[in-house]
């Protein structure tokens, strides 16, 4: 099992919220995914320590939780940057040149897709269609959607995030 090299810094308060979530779903069939989704909302990612709490509280074996966490692209076992930059590589965006947008983001931030800047500020990821295809090519920075992008727009947009 992969344990993140970044030290875990979960707080008591986060743990209390997680326990509440688990209690809420106690009697539901197929509760594991909703619990993990809310756990990731609480902690920002799903490190071993959080999976362990879920396992201890629900009795679901940790191996199974790990298996689910690795299967779905949205579960992350590494902390993300303060701002995530997600470039859409769905078809509509791809044929309108989102590959060049991703290259520009990588160039401006100086890191490859899938990693985080040394200061922990930005991480880059790619996604497959967020449904804003009419605005292709699209990039999402910390939840804000930017559409009809050209590579030269990227630097200015990222500069807005402090």
């Amino acid at each position: 099992m992969k344990v993140s090299s970044v030290p875990f810094s979960g707080t008591k308060e986060q743990e209390a919220r997680l326990l509440e979530v688990i209690a809420k779903y106690k009697d539901m069939k197929g509760a594991l995914m909703p619990i993990m989704q809310e756990a990731q909302d609480i902690y920002g990612y799903l490190p071993y320590q959080v999976q362990k709490i879920i396992s201890d509280e629900t009795g679901i074996p940790i191996e199974k939780i790990y298996g689910v966490a690795t299967f779905y692209a949205q579960f992350s076992m590494e902390p993300k940057g303060k701002y995530t930059v997600a470039v859409c590589l769905g078809t509509a965006c791809y044929v309108k040149g989102s590959g060049a947008i991703l290259e520009e983001v990588e160039k401006v931030l100086g890191i490859p897709d899938g990693s985080c800047t040394a200061d922990g500020k930005f991480s880059i990821e790619t996604c497959r269609c967020v449904g804003a295809c009419g605005l292709a090519p699209v990039m999402i920075v910390a939840g804000d959607v930017y559409g009809k992008l050209k590579p030269e727009d990227v630097e200015g947009i990222l500069a807005k995030y402090e």
Binding site: Q37, V68, A73, A92, Y94, C129, C133, V145
Partner: protein, 625 residues
């Protein structure tokens, strides 16, 4: 909890203000001015809420709260021109609206009664002429059945849905029809699944209908919309969520299920919010819950969120995922109608399939099946994208030709470029070449030419798109989304991608085309689930229709469309070059040589194809060939 009588009263009370948006000619019916602001994903990305805020301020300042009503709608399907604002009476569309424009629209049009000509939504025809949107083929040649309410009602207000006969189909089913009557109506309508497979919906319900009342059953809705570049289902969920809830309850009654699940992708936060609101309102009104319309029938619905795995759109994987597991497909049979969710009989349909159901029940099978072709009834929604003038959602009767969709409704290919192909069916589909421009769009015809209806993604490609690159794009997608459970798909798709990469880098040999074909046929026949079985389609269809392009890459080491980087050469036109030396100074690998004021040359052996020289030449002397 509301009685049928109370719902009918709501419908009467609301009719005046809702009908005007559907019959703009009856302008005298309008009691107020209605301003529709689009709140779908596209327009929200373009900050449409700022327009709402500005409008609210203006209305309050003018003291016109009782005369002007703002309505936040779902997606109009025109996201490329968003944010969109529509004023009724008059049915006047404004495009790319900014808060600054709102002031002028408010004063001149909403108060003054004169539309602001310069902000009106226009279509640009291929001859450069501009016409008003409501006069365009895009607006007039569509037929809205699944999208009938989208963009025209407030999806967060159940009363607006009720004004459109909402939940009357459920009442009719529960109180005037037996479950078998309902199934017969759906069978007779000829409705087929809109999620890609095209399986007859009524038949599916019939298979799941045995032993009503004796076994627990489920109704599920596939809202995972995995085809990247398509957003039909998203628009329905954002624009008309109650139509899906009503249809699921009808399906529940038909097969004898009391619980439904909607599996929706987490990438659609607005759709998820609207669904939650709709569920609360439906429970509050008693159209979901216990003893619906006094019929003794109970039905409720739970929401489940996906977590970014394309394979979970496949029906068995979706169910495994709802159960809380890794979303791996399971072998069929047993089919879900026999053994589905939590091992119980389950009906699973797509969002758009459901959106057609209430209308079929209310108006009858005969009304629905008068539209479409012999084997494909009704309409289909497509998300038009790629190299096309009017990107957006279009709904057309089955049997419409590709040419009509692209040239008339879609306004053709921009910048005078040539139409090369349309891709339908996403990663499971294929490319329809220009020579099949006149095929009618229906399940069988598209399959015959090596593509498929798919869920509704339609990406238009022009002469600048390389078909090898497109095939490579889709294979890259399936390789990363393969769940890895079976070898033909896990290893086979990777091999195919490697061959495509080799070809696009100029290292291909002509035998590779046979290798690709054989692998494709093997994977089609041996993969466990639909993802693997259909993964070869983008390759097979491009091989069939664009073999010459593959051969150009292999034999001539040339990418005719100028896309595959490794095959491109940067060249300097000696007639245009002024010898300014700028390119040579900017080349990171010193691949450019030449004397000052003399034409420069690029050493293609050294060149790493970064493109810096071309960007820097002020005289346009460098091109990529």
């Amino acid at each position: 909890m509301k009685s049928l009588q109370e719902l009918k009263e709501i419908r009467e009370a609301k009719a005046g203000q809702v009908n005007i948006r559907f019959n703009p000619d009856n302008a005298e019916e309008a009691v107020k001015t209605y301003v529709l602001v689009c709140g779908g994903t596209g327009c929200t990305s373009n900050h449409s809420w700022e327009i709402m805020d500005e409008l609210k301020k203006l209305i309050a300042a003018a003291g016109k709260k009782d005369e002007i009503q703002i309505i936040q709608t779902g997606c109009q399907g025109l996201c490329a021109k968003g944010p969109i604002l529509v004023v009724h009476p008059g049915n006047v569309f404004y495009q790319e609206v900014t808060p600054e424009m709102v002031d002028q629209i408010f004063n001149e049009h909403i108060i003054g009664g004169r539309p602001v000509e310069e902000f009106l939504m226009v279509e640009e025809l291929t001859n450069g002429e501009k016409i008003h949107y409501v006069d365009s083929a895009f607006y007039n040649n569509q037929m809205r059945m699944a999208l009938r309410n989208c963009g025209r009602i407030d999806p967060e207000d159940i009363d607006e849905y009720i004004a459109r006969d909402g939940y009357m189909a459920l009442n009719k089913a529960l109180n005037e029809m037996t479950p078998d009557d309902v199934i017969k109506e759906v069978v007779d309508s000829g409705l087929r699944g809109r999620g890609g497979g095209g399986f007859p919906t009524g038949k599916k319900w019939m298979f799941a209908s045995a032993n009503r009342g004796e076994v627990q059953k489920f109704v599920a809705c596939n809202a995972d919309e995995g085809d990247p570049g398509a957003f039909m289902d998203r628009s329905i969920l954002e624009g008309d969520p109650h139509s899906v809830l009503e249809a699921m309850a009808i399906a529940g009654y038909a097969i004898g299920a009391n619980q439904g699940y909607i599996y929706v992708r987490a990438e659609y936060p607005i759709a998820v919010d609207r669904l939650k609101i709709a569920l609360d309102q439906a429970r509050d009104y008693g159209v979901l819950g216990k003893n619906i319309f006094g019929s003794g029938f109970d039905f409720d619905i739970d929401l489940r969120l996906g977590a970014g795995a394309f394979v979970c759109g496949e029906e068995t994987a979706l169910m495994t995922s709802i159960e809380g597991n890794r979303g791996e497909p399971r072998p069929r049979p047993p089919f879900p109608a026999v053994k589905g969710l939590f091992a119980q009989p389950t009906v699973l349909n797509n969002v758009e399939t459901y959106a057609n159901i209430p209308q079929i029940i209310l108006n009858g099978a005969g009304w629905f099946n008068q539209y479409g072709t012999e084997t494909s009834k009704g309409t289909k929604v497509f998300a038009l994208g790629g190299k096309i003038n009017n990107t957006g959602l279009v709904e057309v009767p089955m049997g419409t030709t590709l040419r009509e969709v692209v040239e008339e409704i879609g306004g053709g290919v921009p910048h005078g470029k040539k139409f090369k192909a349309a891709q339908t069916g996403g990663p499971s589909g294929g490319c329809i070449p220009a020579k099949s421009y006149d095929v009618p769009i229906d399940y069988e015809s598209l399959k015959e030419i090596g593509s498929m209806m798919g869920s509704g993604g339609m990406i238009v490609l022009d002469e600048d798109n390389c078909m090898v690159d497109i095939a490579k794009f889709y294979l890259g997608f399936t390789v990363s989304e393969s769940c890895g459970k079976c070898t033909p798909c896990r290893i086979g798709t990777r091999r195919m991608l490697e061959i495509l990469e080799k070809i696009s880098e100029g290292r291909g040999e002509i035998e590779d085309l046979d290798r690709l074909y054989d692998l494709a046929k093997y994977i089609q026949a041996n993969a466990l689930c639909g993802l693997g079985q259909t993964a070869p389609n983008p390759i097979l269809s491009t091989l069939e229709h664009f073999r010459d392009e593959y051969e150009a890459h292999i034999v001539e080491k040339r990418c005719p469309a100028g896309v595959c980087k490794a095959l491109l050469n940067y060249v300097i036109d000696p007639d245009k070059c002024k010898g300014c030396t700028k390119c040579a100074r900017n080349c990171p690998v010193q691949a450019i040589s030449g004397e000052v004021k003399q034409p420069h040359v690029i050493d293609s052996g050294k060149c790493i194809k970064c493109g810096a020289c071309m960007e820097n030449c002020a005289f346009g002397a460098i091109s990529r060939k």
